[in-house]
Symmetry: C2
Subunit: 214 residues, 2 copies
């Protein structure tokens, strides 16, 4: 277990007991989340882009089209970015409206973009990204051709300034409220993978791969 | 049906066919999402806060503690904010790695904070927020007392500059790839409400309310 340093930007000042700087926990949250939100500012006007991502070692990767306006903007100007990820695990139903809460795991990262140009790193980032979305998928699909690589832009962000905020467990009510005749507890939430829907244009005779049927 | 005006900030330049400015669609996305991400910038350094929220008419509301550093910061300085919401509906499994995608509905709003001080508006915002998290809950719980109102800060954001981006449907592959022996389709994702977990400190004899048992 190793911790990220606590900086002015990553210190959890509100409810500090929920602050987490442990690298393993932060990385497990990043690896579970399918999307992140990238924010940057131009003349103090903030912008946000929700996007898929993956993590490899101490870097977070996002990719997009070379035609992406925001990717060109933050890369060419080396803009500082803030990246967030949020997983909602449940609703915390307290006896008082005031103590209602949410069980969540969120991560905030401060970093700056680096253009990925090394062919091996490019290939690995797309492979890990695809496998994160759908484990088993990469070996099955047609790999990018030269034209597709040319149309793809990948940026990496070193993860060196990061923190998480985590709430778990039952509601915490005011002492007197435990005597109230109000049901209290947790409503757990979970992202479920529902049965897959074949493409209407699917070539006849192609069976569902085993990594999608379980 | 009415549309938000397309501005420099809200125009969808990348894949413009996915851009949506229709108010009803944008509001339906906001009403379905449990959390949003609020971003702001200080000397061009972006920050992000994931937080619960609700919408009433043409305003988005967030609340927090009067001890919240970021809420005091954006309110006292009237900082411009960008607020985003993202719903992930499914993974788009194409025949080529390149055409893999995600079915999603996202909203971006540009606005600025207004401090909510009117008692009726404050009350309504907490009621709508609680009912959004858990329909039927508000009538059941102890309402905020004077001290709790004093500890709560509510901010509203007028929704007047907003856009959505939406992808639906099956994968779109390159013409030649439809002949490949690769399964293609959609892996739908859905946030499920799992069976509730009673608070271990629940007073004996309190039954699960009907709005939580269905």
């Amino acid at each position: 277990m190793s911790n990220f340093p606590i900086t002015n930007k990553t210190e959890i000042t509100r409810l500090p007991k929920r602050g987490v700087y442990d690298k393993d926990i932060i990385y497990s949250i990043l690896d579970e989340a399918l999307v992140c939100t990238v924010s940057f500012a131009i003349e103090n006007q903030p912008f946000q882009i929700p996007t898929g991502f993956c993590r490899i070692n101490d870097k977070l990767y996002i990719h997009g089209s070379v035609g992406s306006h925001y990717m060109r903007e933050i890369q060419s100007k080396k803009l500082p970015v803030c990246i967030s990820v949020t997983l909602i695990d449940g609703l915390v139903l307290a006896r008082s409206a005031f103590h209602h809460s949410v069980n969540y795991r969120s991560v905030i990262i401060f970093s700056e973009p680096v253009s990925v140009t090394d062919p091996d790193e490019l290939y690995q980032s797309l492979e890990v990204f695809t496998e994160k979305m759908c484990p088993g998928r990469w070996k099955d699909v047609r790999k990018p051709d030269a034209g597709e690589w040319k149309a793809t832009m990948v940026m990496s962000f070193e993860i060196k300034e990061a923190s998480a905020k985590v709430r778990t467990g039952p509601p915490k009510d005011d002492e007197d409220d435990y005597a109230l005749d109000v049901w209290a507890g947790i409503q757990p939430l979970k992202i479920e993978r529902l049965p897959v829907i074949p493409d209407p244009a699917l070539k006849p005779g192609i069976e569902l791969p085993s990594y999608l049927s379980s």
